[in-house]
Symmetry: C2
C-alpha cells in the first residue's frame, strides 16, 4: 500500500488548466492498492437506520466471550458471519471454528504461526503460492525473519520434501483466476484465501470446505477501514494457536470494529432476502452490476488500444443468483506489448499501478484496482485510452 492516495501536484494549477469532473489533469490516480471506495455509493444509499451507536461504557473489557475458544470474538459478529455464509453459500461453517482477526492480513500470519510452531522443524517451513501471487505474501512471511517459516516463491517450481504451506487464493489476486493447489505433495498444508469469493466478483459454484479459509470484510462489503477478517478453521489445535497469535500480537481485535462489521453483515444478509426493507437493494446484485459495468468499460477501452490486453474469464453458473456470470475481479491484470515496462508507462501518464514483478511475474504486467471511486475509475479509463505510443524511457517497438 502506498502512502499517497491522491497526491496533488505541488504546482499551483493555472486557471486554464484542463479539468475533468473536477479533477486536474495533473492529479495522480493511485490504483496501486485495492482501496474499495467503489462501495461508498451503495452505503450512502442505505439510510441512517443502519448506523452503529456505541455508548461510552460499552466494551471496556478485553473479553467478548470468555467461554469461546476465540475469547475476543463478539458473539454478534460470529452470528452474522454464520448467517451470511449460509445465505451466500460460499463456505461451510459447520465443523469449523471462527477466529476473528485485525484484517485477514493478521490471520495469514496467525495461520503460518499456528501451522509451523507446533512442528518443531529444524529449518523454517517454506510458504509458497503459484505465480502470479499476492505481493503481500512474500513480504508478510519474511519481514520479521522468522525461524518458523520463510517465503519459498512460486509454488509451480517448488520441489522440496518435507512440510510446506501453500497459499491458495481463489479468485486469485492479482489475476482473478480460480485456483486449486498446485504442489500436492505429501506433507503439504493449505491456507485458502477467499477474500474475493463473493458473488459480486465471481460465480459461487459450491460452498468451500477446507482446513483454513480466510475471509475479509474489506473486499466483501468495502469496509477496509474496519480491519476485520475471519478464519474458518477445522482443527481445534490450529484454531487455538491462531487465537494465541492474535492474543500475543494485538491482545484481540477491536470491539467497535467487530460490532460495526456485525451490523454491516446483517444489512447485507437482510438485503438478500426475498422480503426485505424497501430501502435496501440486494447488495450482491447491485455491486455485481457495478463490477460488470466497469469490466465492460475496461474491455471496450482496451479493445481499441493496440498496446494493452486483459484476460477473458469463463462463464459459470452461480448458485447464489442462479445466473451464468463471468468473473469480474477486484483487480485488472493488464498486459502490455512485449518489452514494455507497463508500470513505468502508466506512471508517466499519472496512473499508479503495481508492477507484475511484485507478483512473481513480468514487467509487461500490472495490477490495477477496479474498486476506486467512479470519478477516478472514469479518469483512469480516459487516460488509458490516450496512451497510443510508447513514450521516452521505454524501448521503441
Amino acid at each position: 500500500i502506498e502512502q499517497a492516495f491522491v497526491i496533488k501536484s505541488s504546482n499551483t494549477p493555472s486557471v486554464t488548466e484542463e479539468k475533468v469532473d473536477g479533477h486536474s489533469s495533473e492529479e495522480i490516480i493511485n490504483l496501486d492498492h485495492g482501496d474499495p471506495t467503489m462501495y461508498e455509493s451503495y452505503w450512502k444509499n442505505v439510510g441512517s437506520k443502519y448506523t452503529v451507536t456505541i455508548p461510552a461504557y460499552q466494551s471496556l473489557s478485553y473479553f467478548s466471550n470468555a467461554k469461546n475458544l476465540c475469547w475476543f470474538l463478539e458473539p454478534k459478529l460470529e452470528e452474522e458471519i454464520k448467517k451470511l455464509h449460509k445465505v451466500v453459500g460460499n463456505a461451510i461453517v459447520q465443523d469449523h471454528y471462527i477466529v476473528v482477526g485485525t484484517g485477514s492480513s493478521q490471520l495469514i500470519q496467525a495461520a503460518l504461526y499456528a501451522l509451523c510452531d507446533s512442528l518443531n522443524e529444524p529449518n523454517p517451513i517454506s510458504v509458497v503460492s503459484a505465480a502470479p501471487y499476492y505481493s503481500s505474501y512474500p513480504e508478510v512471511t519474511d519481514f520479521l525473519r522468522s525461524r518458523l517459516f520463510k517465503w519459498g516463491g512460486d509454488a509451480r517450481s517448488f520441489d522440496e520434501d518435507g512440510p510446506y504451506i501453500e497459499m491458495v487464493t481463489s479468485p486469485n489476486n492479482p489475476d482473478g483466476v480460480l485456483r486449486e493447489p498446485v504442489v500436492k505433495r505429501a506433507k503439504g498444508m493449505l491456507i485458502h484465501d477467499f477474500a474475493y469469493y463473493w458473488p459480486q466478483y465471481t460465480a459461487i459454484t459450491s460452498p468451500a470446505d477446507h482446513d483454513i479459509m480466510l475471509f475479509t470484510v474489506s473486499k466483501c462489503t468495502g469496509h477496509a477501514g474496519s480491519r476485520i477478517g475471519w478464519a474458518l478453521v477445522r482443527d481445534q489445535n490450529v484454531a487455538k494457536k491462531m487465537v494465541k497469535f492474535v492474543e500475543l500480537n494485538t491482545i484481540g481485535v477491536s470491539k467497535e470494529a467487530q460490532l460495526r462489521a456485525a451490523k454491516i453483515l446483517e444489512v447485507i444478509t437482510a438485503s438478500c432476502q426475498r422480503v426485505k426493507p424497501h430501502d435496501l437493494e440486494n447488495f450482491f446484485e447491485h455491486t455485481h452490476n457495478l463490477m460488470a459495468e466497469r469490466w465492460k468499460k475496461l474491455q471496450d477501452s482496451v479493445k481499441n488500444n493496440k498496446l494493452f490486453y486483459v484476460q477473458k474469464y469463463p462463464l459459470q453458473q452461480c448458485n447464489f443468483t442462479g445466473d451464468f456470470t463471468e468473473t469480474y475481479p477486484a483487480f485488472a491484470w493488464l498486459k502490455s506489448k512485449e518489452g514494455i515496462d507497463c508500470e513505468k508507462l502508466l506512471r508517466e501518464h499519472k496512473i499508479l499501478t503495481r508492477s507484475g514483478r511484485r507478483f512473481g511475474s513480468d514487467q509487461e504486467y500490472v495490477r490495477i484496482s477496479m474498486l476506486s471511486r467512479v470519478d477516478e475509475f472514469d479518469l483512469f479509463l480516459q487516460r488509458l485510452s490516450t496512451i497510443r505510443r510508447i513514450s521516452s524511457g521505454n524501448s521503441e517497438l
Copy 2:
C-alpha cells in the same frame, strides 16, 4: 491473558450455598490479567451524549490521511492525543511523530522491528528489561523466533557489547515502581512503556521526553476492548519503520476504534477543565480516588494477615493535581512468606493471579489486578482475609 474471565463451577449450586453480593463461593475470581472493568462505573455516569455514532458509509478506505507519515491515523485521534498530553503534562508531544497501533502490544513489536531491521546485525539483538518485568515482553519478543531480536532477560545481569534494546516501564508492571534505564551501555536503544504514567496511578512529576514512548487507551481510560495505543517517536526513520510494521502486520488500525478513542479522550480532557459540563466529574480525580480507596482496603487487609505483604510507595508531588500522592499501581505485587508458592495458594482459594516466576521473579510473588469490577475486588479481599494458614500442597512453615 487467560481465556476464562469468570469460570463458574460445573456443579449445580445447592440452594443453601453461601452467596456474597450475588456471587457464589464457588466462583473463580480471575485477577490474572489487568482487565480494566473498574472504569465502567465512571463511563456509565457520563450520559448518552458521549456516545459515538458511525454511519454505514463512513471510513471504508484503508486511508485516514494519505499526507501523514502515519497514513492510517485518524486526524481527530491525533488531535485528542495532543490535547490530552498537554492537559495532563505527562509527555512532550512536540518534535515527536504519533504512530497509532492496535494496542501498545502491537507498537512494542513495531518498535523492535523498527530499531533492529535497519541495523543489519548478524545476530538477533537482545531485548532486556529489569526484573520484575512485564511477562508479555519475553513472549512477544520470542514467539515468532525472529532473527532480528531475541529476549535477553533481566537487564540487571545484561553485560554484552554491541546494540541492545531496554524496555523501561514506569510505573513498572508488575510492581508499580518508578523506573529509569539500568543498563546504560554505549549502543543501547530505549523503549519507554508509559502505559501507567497517568494521574490516577502516580504523580506526574515531569513531562516525559524520550525517543520512543508508548501509551495505551486500555490503562488510561479503561477501554481495553478498543485495542488502541499510540507511540510518540522522535526519529522520523524509526517512525516510518513502525508505520511499515503496522502496515505489514494489520494494514493499519481500525477506524471505528480510533474514532471512539478520540471521543473518549475528548471527554476526559473536557472533564479536566475548570469550566466543564455539569455531568462530567474530573476523570483523573475520580479514578485516582477509586485507586486510593482500593489500595487502602488492600493494605488494611494485608496488615491483619501474617502471610502477605505489599510494598509501600513514596509520596511525590503531582504537577497535574498540585497535591502530594503515593503511587497506586494498577497491579498489586503481593509477596507471601518465604517458601510459599503464592499463585498456587491463592488458586486454592479460587483467586487466579499471575505467578512472580512469569515476571523473572520468585514464586513468593504474584501480580494481582487492582482494576476489576467492585464486587470482584471486594470478594477478592474477603477471600484473602480468610487465608490464615497454609493448605495442602505448600510446605508447612
